[in-house]
Protein backbone atom coordinates (compact mmCIF):
# COMPACT_ATOMS: atom_id res chain seq x y z
CA UNK A 1 0.00 0.00 0.00
CA UNK A 2 1.45 3.36 -0.98
CA UNK A 3 1.67 6.16 1.54
CA UNK A 4 -1.01 8.12 -0.32
CA UNK A 5 -3.38 5.16 -0.24
CA UNK A 6 -2.66 4.67 3.46
CA UNK A 7 -3.38 8.36 4.07
CA UNK A 8 -6.68 8.11 2.21
CA UNK A 9 -7.63 4.97 4.12
CA UNK A 10 -6.74 6.65 7.44
CA UNK A 11 -8.70 9.78 6.51
CA UNK A 12 -11.82 7.68 5.89
CA UNK A 13 -11.65 5.80 9.20
CA UNK A 14 -14.32 6.70 11.79
CA UNK A 15 -11.64 7.80 14.32
CA UNK A 16 -10.14 10.28 11.88
CA UNK A 17 -13.55 11.66 10.95
CA UNK A 18 -14.59 11.94 14.59
CA UNK A 19 -11.47 13.96 15.53
CA UNK A 20 -11.95 16.31 12.57
CA UNK A 21 -15.62 16.84 13.21
CA UNK A 22 -15.24 17.58 16.92
CA UNK A 23 -14.03 21.12 16.37
CA UNK A 24 -12.34 21.63 19.75
CA UNK A 25 -10.04 18.58 19.56
CA UNK A 26 -7.42 19.78 17.05
CA UNK A 27 -6.81 23.27 18.56
CA UNK A 28 -6.52 21.83 22.06
CA UNK A 29 -4.26 18.97 20.99
CA UNK A 30 -2.08 21.50 19.14
CA UNK A 31 -1.93 23.61 22.32
CA UNK A 32 -0.68 20.61 24.35
CA UNK A 33 1.77 19.90 21.49
CA UNK A 34 3.17 23.45 21.74
CA UNK A 35 3.40 23.26 25.55
CA UNK A 36 5.37 20.00 25.20
CA UNK A 37 7.60 21.62 22.55
CA UNK A 38 8.33 24.39 25.05
CA UNK A 39 9.34 21.81 27.67
CA UNK A 40 11.63 20.00 25.20
CA UNK A 41 13.17 23.22 23.90
CA UNK A 42 13.57 24.65 27.41
CA UNK A 43 15.25 21.48 28.69
CA UNK A 44 17.35 21.06 25.55
CA UNK A 45 18.45 24.70 25.61
CA UNK A 46 19.58 24.37 29.22
CA UNK A 47 21.49 21.10 28.75
CA UNK A 48 23.00 21.99 25.36
CA UNK A 49 24.08 25.46 26.50
CA UNK A 50 25.66 23.82 29.55
CA UNK A 51 27.49 21.36 27.27
CA UNK A 52 28.52 24.29 25.06
CA UNK A 53 29.97 25.94 28.15
CA UNK A 54 27.65 28.95 28.07
CA UNK A 55 25.37 28.48 31.07
CA UNK A 56 25.66 27.08 34.61
CA UNK A 57 29.36 26.34 34.10
CA UNK A 58 29.81 26.16 37.87
CA UNK A 59 27.59 23.06 37.94
CA UNK A 60 28.77 19.61 36.76
CA UNK A 61 27.44 18.71 33.29
CA UNK A 62 25.99 15.44 34.57
CA UNK A 63 23.98 17.28 37.25
CA UNK A 64 22.36 19.61 34.72
CA UNK A 65 21.66 16.68 32.39
CA UNK A 66 20.17 14.62 35.20
CA UNK A 67 17.73 17.44 36.05
CA UNK A 68 16.34 17.96 32.58
CA UNK A 69 16.57 14.57 30.83
CA UNK A 70 13.46 13.13 32.59
CA UNK A 71 11.44 16.24 31.63
CA UNK A 72 12.55 15.90 28.03
CA UNK A 73 11.59 12.24 27.93
CA UNK A 74 8.09 12.91 29.27
CA UNK A 75 7.61 15.85 26.88
CA UNK A 76 8.82 13.77 23.91
CA UNK A 77 6.24 11.11 24.73
CA UNK A 78 3.51 13.79 24.92
CA UNK A 79 4.71 15.15 21.55
CA UNK A 80 4.57 11.70 20.02
CA UNK A 81 1.04 11.06 21.33
CA UNK A 82 -0.43 14.46 20.41
CA UNK A 83 1.40 14.37 17.08
CA UNK A 84 -0.14 10.98 16.32
CA UNK A 85 -3.64 12.35 16.98
CA UNK A 86 -2.93 15.23 14.58
CA UNK A 87 -1.71 12.82 11.87
CA UNK A 88 -4.75 10.57 12.28
CA UNK A 89 -7.04 13.60 12.00
CA UNK A 90 -5.38 15.08 8.92
CA UNK A 91 -3.15 12.45 7.25
CA UNK A 92 -3.03 14.33 3.95
CA UNK A 93 -1.50 17.38 5.59
CA UNK A 94 1.41 15.38 7.04
CA UNK A 95 2.12 11.99 5.46
CA UNK A 96 2.36 13.36 1.94
CA UNK A 97 4.43 16.36 3.06
CA UNK A 98 8.24 16.36 2.59
CA UNK A 99 8.69 18.90 5.41
CA UNK A 100 6.88 16.56 7.78
CA UNK A 101 9.37 13.77 7.02
CA UNK A 102 12.32 16.15 7.37
CA UNK A 103 10.91 17.17 10.74
CA UNK A 104 10.52 13.52 11.78
CA UNK A 105 14.14 12.79 10.76
CA UNK A 106 15.40 15.80 12.74
CA UNK A 107 13.33 14.84 15.81
CA UNK A 108 14.53 11.22 15.61
CA UNK A 109 18.16 12.32 15.23
CA UNK A 110 18.01 14.87 18.04
CA UNK A 111 16.18 12.48 20.38
CA UNK A 112 18.69 9.73 19.68
CA UNK A 113 21.66 11.98 20.38
CA UNK A 114 19.97 13.21 23.55
CA UNK A 115 19.04 9.79 24.87
CA UNK A 116 22.14 7.83 23.81
CA UNK A 117 25.15 10.13 23.52
CA UNK A 118 24.08 12.42 26.34
CA UNK A 119 23.23 9.50 28.56
CA UNK A 120 26.66 7.96 28.09
CA UNK A 121 27.94 11.23 29.46
CA UNK A 122 26.16 10.39 32.70
CA UNK A 123 27.92 7.01 32.82
CA UNK A 124 31.43 8.05 31.86
CA UNK A 125 31.44 10.05 35.00
CA UNK A 126 30.96 13.52 36.08
CA UNK A 127 33.00 16.14 34.37
CA UNK A 128 33.70 18.58 37.10
CA UNK A 129 32.54 22.14 37.21
CA UNK A 130 34.83 24.43 35.30
CA UNK A 131 36.47 21.59 33.38
CA UNK A 132 37.22 22.41 29.75
CA UNK A 133 34.72 20.82 27.36
CA UNK A 134 36.19 19.23 24.21
CA UNK A 135 35.64 21.29 21.06
CA UNK A 136 33.69 18.52 19.28
CA UNK A 137 31.24 18.22 22.14
CA UNK A 138 30.66 21.98 22.11
CA UNK A 139 29.99 22.00 18.38
CA UNK A 140 27.53 19.12 18.76
CA UNK A 141 25.74 21.07 21.49
CA UNK A 142 25.33 24.11 19.21
CA UNK A 143 24.21 21.84 16.36
CA UNK A 144 21.55 20.38 18.64
CA UNK A 145 20.25 23.87 19.49
CA UNK A 146 20.00 24.61 15.75
CA UNK A 147 18.25 21.28 15.06
CA UNK A 148 15.56 21.93 17.69
CA UNK A 149 14.96 25.39 16.18
CA UNK A 150 14.71 23.83 12.71
CA UNK A 151 12.15 21.33 14.06
CA UNK A 152 9.91 24.22 15.15
CA UNK A 153 10.19 25.93 11.76
CA UNK A 154 9.40 22.66 9.93
CA UNK A 155 6.42 22.10 12.21
CA UNK A 156 4.89 25.48 11.49
CA UNK A 157 5.61 25.32 7.76
CA UNK A 158 3.85 21.94 7.45
CA UNK A 159 0.60 23.92 7.63
CA UNK A 160 1.61 25.93 4.55
CA UNK A 161 3.07 23.35 2.17
Amino acid sequence: MSITAFGEWLYATPVSTAIRETTWIIPNIQTVHILAIAVVVGSALLTELRLAGVIATDRPEADVLRRYLPWMKVALVVLLLTGTVLIVAEPGRTLGNTLFWIKMALVAGASLVTLKARKSLLRTGDTMAGEVVPEASRSLAWLMVIIWCAVIFCGRFIAYT
Partner: protein, 168 residues
Protein backbone atom coordinates in the same frame (compact mmCIF):
# COMPACT_ATOMS: atom_id res chain seq x y z
CA UNK B 1 -9.07 59.46 15.46
CA UNK B 2 -11.22 56.58 16.62
CA UNK B 3 -10.12 52.98 16.98
CA UNK B 4 -11.50 51.90 13.65
CA UNK B 5 -9.66 54.49 11.57
CA UNK B 6 -6.50 53.76 13.55
CA UNK B 7 -6.79 50.05 12.76
CA UNK B 8 -7.46 50.88 9.13
CA UNK B 9 -4.37 53.14 9.06
CA UNK B 10 -2.23 50.32 10.45
CA UNK B 11 -3.76 47.98 7.88
CA UNK B 12 -2.79 50.35 5.05
CA UNK B 13 0.86 50.74 6.08
CA UNK B 14 3.33 49.47 3.46
CA UNK B 15 4.81 47.08 6.06
CA UNK B 16 1.38 45.56 6.75
CA UNK B 17 0.70 45.14 3.05
CA UNK B 18 4.15 43.62 2.59
CA UNK B 19 3.47 40.93 5.20
CA UNK B 20 0.07 40.18 3.62
CA UNK B 21 1.42 39.97 0.10
CA UNK B 22 4.56 37.91 0.74
CA UNK B 23 3.43 34.29 0.98
CA UNK B 24 6.29 33.17 3.24
CA UNK B 25 6.27 36.20 5.59
CA UNK B 26 3.43 35.02 7.83
CA UNK B 27 4.64 31.42 8.32
CA UNK B 28 8.15 32.78 9.04
CA UNK B 29 6.76 35.16 11.66
CA UNK B 30 4.69 32.34 13.16
CA UNK B 31 7.71 30.02 13.34
CA UNK B 32 9.80 32.68 15.09
CA UNK B 33 6.84 33.38 17.38
CA UNK B 34 6.54 29.69 18.35
CA UNK B 35 10.32 29.42 18.87
CA UNK B 36 10.26 32.53 21.07
CA UNK B 37 7.25 31.21 23.02
CA UNK B 38 9.00 27.89 23.55
CA UNK B 39 12.01 29.68 25.06
CA UNK B 40 9.83 32.04 27.14
CA UNK B 41 7.64 29.25 28.49
CA UNK B 42 10.50 26.73 28.81
CA UNK B 43 12.72 29.02 30.88
CA UNK B 44 9.86 30.51 32.93
CA UNK B 45 8.65 26.99 33.71
CA UNK B 46 12.03 26.11 35.26
CA UNK B 47 11.84 29.23 37.46
CA UNK B 48 8.14 28.67 38.27
CA UNK B 49 8.81 25.08 39.31
CA UNK B 50 11.72 26.20 41.49
CA UNK B 51 9.48 28.82 43.14
CA UNK B 52 6.86 26.16 43.61
CA UNK B 53 9.39 23.86 45.26
CA UNK B 54 10.66 21.58 42.47
CA UNK B 55 14.46 21.41 42.50
CA UNK B 56 16.39 22.91 39.63
CA UNK B 57 20.01 22.49 38.51
CA UNK B 58 21.13 24.82 41.27
CA UNK B 59 19.96 25.44 44.79
CA UNK B 60 19.88 29.24 44.90
CA UNK B 61 16.57 30.56 43.56
CA UNK B 62 18.09 34.01 43.08
CA UNK B 63 21.00 32.74 40.99
CA UNK B 64 18.66 30.55 38.95
CA UNK B 65 16.44 33.54 38.21
CA UNK B 66 19.41 35.73 37.31
CA UNK B 67 20.77 32.99 35.06
CA UNK B 68 17.57 32.29 33.11
CA UNK B 69 15.62 35.54 32.96
CA UNK B 70 17.87 37.21 30.33
CA UNK B 71 16.92 34.37 27.94
CA UNK B 72 13.26 34.77 28.88
CA UNK B 73 13.33 38.51 28.21
CA UNK B 74 15.12 38.31 24.86
CA UNK B 75 12.67 35.63 23.73
CA UNK B 76 9.73 37.68 25.04
CA UNK B 77 10.85 40.69 23.00
CA UNK B 78 11.10 38.48 19.88
CA UNK B 79 7.61 37.10 20.59
CA UNK B 80 6.25 40.64 21.06
CA UNK B 81 7.82 41.93 17.83
CA UNK B 82 6.69 38.96 15.72
CA UNK B 83 3.26 39.16 17.37
CA UNK B 84 2.98 42.86 16.55
CA UNK B 85 3.94 42.21 12.92
CA UNK B 86 1.30 39.48 12.61
CA UNK B 87 -1.26 41.83 14.18
CA UNK B 88 -0.30 44.58 11.70
CA UNK B 89 -0.95 42.32 8.75
CA UNK B 90 -4.61 42.08 9.73
CA UNK B 91 -5.38 44.55 12.55
CA UNK B 92 -9.17 44.77 12.13
CA UNK B 93 -9.61 40.99 12.39
CA UNK B 94 -7.33 40.67 15.43
CA UNK B 95 -9.02 43.58 17.19
CA UNK B 96 -12.35 41.80 16.71
CA UNK B 97 -11.06 38.41 17.88
CA UNK B 98 -12.07 37.51 21.45
CA UNK B 99 -9.24 35.01 21.96
CA UNK B 100 -6.66 37.62 20.91
CA UNK B 101 -8.03 40.26 23.30
CA UNK B 102 -8.29 37.82 26.21
CA UNK B 103 -4.75 36.62 25.44
CA UNK B 104 -3.44 40.19 25.79
CA UNK B 105 -5.33 40.40 29.11
CA UNK B 106 -3.65 37.24 30.37
CA UNK B 107 -0.19 38.48 29.33
CA UNK B 108 -0.94 41.61 31.39
CA UNK B 109 -2.00 39.43 34.35
CA UNK B 110 1.24 37.43 34.05
CA UNK B 111 3.10 40.77 34.14
CA UNK B 112 1.18 41.88 37.25
CA UNK B 113 1.98 38.57 38.94
CA UNK B 114 5.66 39.16 38.15
CA UNK B 115 5.52 42.70 39.59
CA UNK B 116 3.74 41.40 42.69
CA UNK B 117 6.39 38.69 43.18
CA UNK B 118 9.28 41.10 42.72
CA UNK B 119 7.82 43.63 45.15
CA UNK B 120 7.02 41.07 47.86
CA UNK B 121 8.70 37.64 48.19
CA UNK B 122 11.67 38.51 45.96
CA UNK B 123 12.63 41.45 48.19
CA UNK B 124 13.33 39.01 51.01
CA UNK B 125 14.86 36.32 48.80
CA UNK B 126 18.09 36.32 50.83
CA UNK B 127 16.06 34.81 53.70
CA UNK B 128 14.72 31.84 51.69
CA UNK B 129 17.10 31.61 48.73
CA UNK B 130 18.05 27.97 49.33
CA UNK B 131 14.94 26.84 51.25
CA UNK B 132 12.89 23.91 50.05
CA UNK B 133 9.98 24.34 49.91
CA UNK B 134 10.04 28.12 49.36
CA UNK B 135 7.66 30.41 51.31
CA UNK B 136 3.97 30.35 50.44
CA UNK B 137 4.02 33.69 48.61
CA UNK B 138 6.73 32.42 46.24
CA UNK B 139 4.89 29.14 45.72
CA UNK B 140 1.65 30.95 44.86
CA UNK B 141 3.48 33.22 42.44
CA UNK B 142 5.15 30.27 40.72
CA UNK B 143 1.87 28.37 40.38
CA UNK B 144 0.03 31.48 39.11
CA UNK B 145 2.72 32.19 36.55
CA UNK B 146 2.50 28.62 35.26
CA UNK B 147 -1.31 28.77 34.96
CA UNK B 148 -1.31 32.22 33.32
CA UNK B 149 1.34 31.39 30.70
CA UNK B 150 -0.31 28.05 29.90
CA UNK B 151 -3.56 29.94 29.28
CA UNK B 152 -1.72 32.45 27.05
CA UNK B 153 -0.43 29.61 24.84
CA UNK B 154 -3.87 27.98 24.78
CA UNK B 155 -5.56 31.23 23.69
CA UNK B 156 -2.82 31.92 21.16
CA UNK B 157 -3.37 28.63 19.39
CA UNK B 158 -7.13 29.21 19.37
CA UNK B 159 -6.65 32.54 17.54
CA UNK B 160 -5.54 30.54 14.51
CA UNK B 161 -8.88 28.74 14.48
CA UNK B 162 -11.19 31.65 15.24
CA UNK B 163 -9.66 34.59 13.36
CA UNK B 164 -11.90 35.77 10.57
CA UNK B 165 -9.55 36.72 7.81
CA UNK B 166 -10.79 40.00 6.45
CA UNK B 167 -8.66 41.85 3.97
CA UNK B 168 -9.46 45.44 3.24
Amino acid sequence: MNIETALQKINDLPLSAGIRENASAFPLLESLHVLAIAIVFGTILIVDLRLFGVASHRRSAQRLTAELLPYTWVAFVVAAITGTLMFMSNPVSYANNTQFLVKLGFIALAGLNMIWFHSTAYRRIAEWDEDMPPPTAARISGALSFILWTTVIFLGRWIGFTLETLFF
